[in-house]
Amino acid sequence: MRAFRRLRRNFEHGVHPAHFKEQTADLPIQRVPFGKDYVMPLGQHIGVPAQAIVTAGERVTRGQLIAEPGGFVSTGLHSPVTGTVREIGDFRGVDGRFAPAIAIEADAFATQQVDAGDGIDWEALSLEEFIKAVQMAGIVGMGGAAFPAHVKLSVPDGVTIRHLLINGAECEPYLTTDHRLMLERPEALLEGAEIMRQKLGAEETVIGIEANKPDAIKIIQQHIAPGDPVRVVPLKVKYPQGAEKMMIKSVFNVEVPAGQLPRDVGVNVNNVGTIVAIADYFLRGIPLIERVVTVAGPGVTYPANLIVPLGTPVRDVVKFCGGLKPGTREMIMGGPMMGRPIASLDVPILKGCSGVLVFTEAETARRKEYPCISCGRCLEACPYFLNPSRLARLSKARMFDEMKAYNVFDCVECGCCTFACPSNIPIVQLIRTAKDDLTHRKEPDA
């Protein structure tokens, strides 16, 4: 039975949203022309915001370090364009809140060529130096969470990383950035993977790809030289196959214990985009100044896969794609299952932005909420085997403390429960509310 399950390459539960990837899956990645205004928020990764090291009026070149890490869980920032620092101040973030950022005005006459060096002699670097280099290069998890990549590389004593797992699942509907990267830059992916694998001292590299991307699976397999410690594992198409703990379960049939990290079972998981960024930095000297973004959804005129300099306003990206169709109601940064709603067209593209999705009336129509009839569909959807039905009821009753006994903090907010709920109950939002309250609640002064 166990062996049979292993063959299925799967995790339990999860949901099957339609893929919606046909809009952009076959479109080659194009480069967005440079615009004028760029805004680089200092806190575009998880952790401590970076600290600006430039001042207003200063001239910066593309790829130049403009902010230093503000702590260990923090990364550097680089200017996405050659131009002049216009202002360091508060700018609107994705969620509409103002946060510190560096605004740069691009030089209209600059070539915007990156000063591509020869890269870095990464083999000579010690692990510590390598980690520092990744941090300074500003590389974060490119799948959406934007968690600084170097933090995952810092393994405590006594822990050995045996497998480097590369996440090419791209289980979110609409998104095709990792798909296109695997198709168009398989060499870079494998080079980056080799650098990571050697530095981590891992035995092998495993690339997990959902089975709905047979072309990507094929092309990568073709690029693997015989004898290389790399293998591609096709995965069942199911959301959230790309959640790292789900993927570890699918590939290695191991459950990462609750409250622990993949490294505790000897695995380091990185997104395809992250690995390509590693290759770009260590082999070509280009820090993280741009990324691939899928622009898709029913409300966009010409869907596309684009290389976008970080800090580009969403407005410019959308304009390049022919603008918004009439009837646009909502835009999402990231995927439709876990992405964040975009508050205004002026917000910038961030390191963790894998997609800009434009939705119309049909997807955003108010759905009538019915009472929970305990049908159990959410239990069968939750990949963490939680009881979302109970959690939602408790959250509605504001019984947040009771929710701890139901392991509310094990929830990764993947949204499967909400997707599956026939009563249209905003379960994941209710859970988020409770987690937020439990984390940030201030006890009244005694």
Binding site: P341, S344, L379, F385, N424
Partner: protein, 339 residues
Amino acid sequence: MKQRDPDLLLFHAPLLRQGMTTPKAMRDVLLALAPATLASMWFFGLSAVLILASCIGGAVAAEWLFADRQARGESLRDASCVLTGLLLGLTLPPGLPLWMAFLGGFIGIALGKVIWGGLGQNLFNPALLGRAFLLATFPIAMTTWVPAVTDGGFLQVYPGNLALPFMQVQIDAMSSATPLGLMKFEQEVTPLTNLMFGKTTGSLGETSGLLLLLGGVFLWLRRDLDWRIPVSILVTVVVFSAILGLFDADRFPSPLFSVFSGGLLLGAIYMATDPVTSPVTPKGAWIFGIGTGVLVMLIRVFGGLPEGVMYAILLMNAATPLIDRYTQPRVFGRGGDSQ
């Protein structure tokens, strides 16, 4: 010309939903019951139509009457009270006075659902609660069984149907016993084919086992019911009767007889699976089903009544919160057995 930015909404992800909604699930169950309902009309003629209509009428009336004044009619839209009425009607004897059927539907919704706070809040299955109320209040009328229409044709109405409220109920001259009653009190076995195709005495919906199974398969294909519940109930009943059969094959009912007689299929597929009143956890569903099956057999074989499905389900309904509490699923990465 500068285009105006659209006013963007900030609905939180996930924006995608699967297609199923609660009213659709309710309508699926209604659809699944359609063959058995039509069969009841075939067997019992106009009486079946009138009884079902009275039950649904009572249920809808209660739902409407006790709804919020502003939201009146709103809660009717999910069709759940129509389903309650239909399910209740299918458990009633065909010769029951119509006013009792209406009252049963009304009480089922009023005391079985609205008083608890409406859909999703009730502890007991509303249809069965309505039936329990009728059985306790009108024991004679509720246990007077008439045979299926034989000669009068579709338009024949049982005289009992038309009894006026609170008048002496006419005991039907043609009354006869159900297969379970025959088994229990006279040790007479009804042929299995009759049980499967519905040529027996009994309440409206319980006479045609095959059509009920057909609807159950439809619901299972549509993922509208937790298959664990009917499967565990039926398996328990089969195993229980098989064990009894080892002791005395003549005295105790055979496994297939147990499954196809009485309201077991109707109860196991359509009532025990009411998501609101059954456990939400997979492990709990097994416990609930096995418990129901055991109780059904205990009541049928050792109790004073020929049929025990209703009380078995209601008793397990009462145990559901407790079952749910102690069968929380194992959380990913927290050890223990996998579901």
